[in-house]
Symmetry: C2
Subunit: 445 residues, 2 copies
């Protein structure tokens, strides 16, 4: 019997998890990874921190180097290698890399091409000083361009935009965020957005909402951002307008896309083409609250999808059921987490909801250094089940969101949340934990 040949296209979180798992499941398999950029297996979520100097060296974002994959795991990694075409019938791909053009035959292939920046068609994008952060290389270039700049403009108030704003403030820059929508972080509800606004303000970030960017002006380098309402002086622009699935190769091959525009896969991460799997920020998955397709390009999800795709390509059987929409970030001193559905997301699927917002503390009243924390629960108004939650606070947010993720997965009612036997001691919360307080308020209504 011939050795199984598995090819992975893309060496990000999903791709390297897939390659590693496939090789672990079938150690006799020949596993090859092709990656366009110079790095594989890096923490893209760390780029905003690198830019702000919190991470001293870009190489610290790299978990494993190609050499390590070869020596420790027996996986061939080709960096700076672009896959040009894939023929699904003959199971052959053609790529161009450091050794010129090569053809590669395989038994199964995992598409882990990730996401790419969703950049609107602004005027003046060719000017110097306008950046889109995508790869580690870009981050290094950005960091060097930063030195002289004083007035940074960030387009977009999502996770990356907000994290970057903090990084730039840490470097002593003037920072303005321009956001098209009427509030920052639109995947949380309006009350939580208000907390984020306050935090940005006290961090010295100028946040301009309802600002539709039209383009950029300048001699060689950007000098002004032009919006519908006027113009802003700037000497550096970073676009943080979100990402979209990178489905170019998939489309070319006739792989089916889903309603979100990302690759459609089943629970085993298989596409509509036999022996072609996909995993990571290029696929859609099922939202476990709505049961509907959703696009959630998050690192941990990408890792797990890669794990499942790799296992199945290697001959094992694993299932990826879907996501809960859990996410977290930290902006200056404020931690903000969310899981399940926001009020807006519930509305889209036609669910009537009611919301409960409480403010509490992170430690017992008498214990020093207690901090503020807010818990928002979103309940299905029909059956009183918790369908979403958001927590903001100066500590303790991760744990409360993780707990609520499982509560929502269990279809818990507020009363069930109230009775969960959560650990208690004075340094970790009041004896009525913020979660219990939110449950009690929801029970009263």
């Amino acid at each position: 019997m011939n050795n199984r040949r598995i090819v992975v296209v893309g060496g990000g979180a999903a791709g390297m998890a897939a390659a590693s798992r496939a090789k672990r499941v079938d150690p006799t398999a020949i596993v090859k990874v092709f990656e366009t950029s110079s790095h594989v297996s890096y923490g893209a979520c760390g780029i905003p921190y690198y830019i702000g100097g919190l991470v001293s060296d870009v190489s610290k974002l790299v978990s494993y180097w190609p050499k390590q994959f070869k020596e420790e795991r027996g996986i061939d990694v080709s960096i700076r290698t672009e896959v040009k075409t894939i023929d699904p019938r003959s199971r052959t791909l053609r790529c161009i890399g450091q050794q010129g053009e090569i053809e590669e035959q395989f038994d199964s292939l995992i598409l882990a091409t990730g996401a790419k920046p969703a950049v609107p068609n602004f005027r003046g994008m060719e000017l110097e000083g306008i950046h889109v952060i995508r790869w580690l290389e870009d981050a290094e270039k950005k960091a060097s361009d930063l030195g002289a700049s004083k007035e940074v403009t960030i387009i977009g108030a999502g996770y990356i935009g907000l994290e970057l704003s903090e990084s730039f403030r840490r470097l002593g820059k003037q920072v303005t965020i321009l956001e098209l929508l009427p509030r920052p972080l639109p995947n949380v509800d309006v009350e939580v957005s208000e907390l984020v606004k306050g935090e940005l303000e006290s961090g010295g970030v100028r946040l301009k909402l309802n600002e539709k960017v039209l383009g950029f002006e300048g001699r060689d380098r950007v000098e002004k951002v032009i919006t519908e309402s006027g113009s802003h002086e700037t000497d550096l622009v970073v676009l943080a307008t979100g990402v979209k699935p990178n489905v170019d190769l998939a489309s070319m091959m006739g792989i089916q896309l889903g309603t979100t525009g990302a690759i459609k896969v089943d629970e085993t991460m298989r596409t509509n083409l036999d022996q072609f799997l996909a995993a990571g920020d290029n696929v859609e998955t099922r939202h476990l609250v709505t049961g509907l397709p959703t696009y959630m390009p998050f690192a941990q999800t990408a890792n797990k999808m890669g794990y499942v795709a790799g296992a199945n390509a290697g001959g094992s059987k694993e299932i990826f059921r879907g996501v809960m929409g859990s996410a977290i970030t930290k902006i200056f001193g404020l931690e903000i987490g969310r899981t399940g559905l926001s009020e807006a997301e519930a509305k889209i699927v036609g669910m009537q909801t009611r919301g409960v917002l409480i403010r509490s503390r992170t430690r017992a009243g008498y214990y020093p250094d207690s901090k503020e924390i807010w818990v928002k629960l979103i309940l299905n108004a029909t059956n009183n089940v918790i369908v979403g939650a958001q927590v903001a606070g100066r500590e303790g947010v991760w744990g409360r969101i993780a707990t609520l993720t499982l509560a929502i997965l269990n279809k818990a009612t507020p009363k069930q949340l109230f009775f969960y036997d959560l650990p208690y001691a004075p340094p970790f919360g009041p004896v009525w934990d913020p979660l219990i307080v939110s449950a009690r308020v929801a029970m009263r209504q």
Copy 2:
């Protein structure tokens, strides 16, 4: 129709929660609380921190004062009032308080008499400088006696003993803990006890294990602790040898006790006597992993039991299903939490287990100030379900224990734990969260 008369015996966490809930459910009810000590509704868990000066004033431990209960909630609270006898047939109690002896008639009664120190019969207990902490008054007395003392001995290395040791070190005392068992914090497994040992050592606490205390010697004030292996000089002794349910009144009335020695109640917190309920550190409850009776005198559980007892006494219907054994503490810089069964507890109920212990970090590798964290999973060897967990670390322990509490309640396998959609961002954990790492290791075995 006459107003419902509800009497609560004991004004601690359970008693005041019961009184408040009963009055809320039936606002026409006459609700009276009798409390032996001078305070109700205080955070007993804060006493070790008060002693160490972390809480400046004993009154800060009090959440509500008797006057507030009267004015804000319409509840009569009699402090320094001891209930002497209760006649279940005539539903009459006799108590002695500030107004002398009174008799009180009631329709239903909630016993919330709490726990009392379980103090072994040591020689020389009459000496000065030997303390048992039970009430806030004691704490105040202790604090004043502390001033001159230099060599403190704590008997018992459970939660309270350990928390006190840190408090005394903060005050600059020499601190020795004497523990009968071969390791500290015996409700966690041996590996976690080892971490606690290391933390006590680096905090400058002398921990002497396998030390059976026989008694105390001294002229008027304690000068020596005598153990089976020798004697230790000291000028202050604090007994932290655990608590036992305070069931004196219950026994006198013929209320049935359970196998643990605490009051037996059903899920509505009713005892075997009609119209007599009980809640808090004087009752046993069901362990939700084993289904067996268990005695867990913890503040949050007491509050919830009180809530249920009060609701039912007031004419509503609430259920308290049981506990998971969740607990947490912080000793110097180390947070230690546990939930479900320890290996020893599993053994007692005849369950074959296997354990998994991993060490990980609390933040992404490249993110500054990442700290160590350990996760221990205990699995039922027969069906591979997680039945217990312990986490120790320098941050992030509460959230991981809370999450594992729900996972264990769901009878999750390691694979289910692996796939939970936990929130991720670099300041909160590695992309493979410590929980996911523990799940992966357990999956491999």
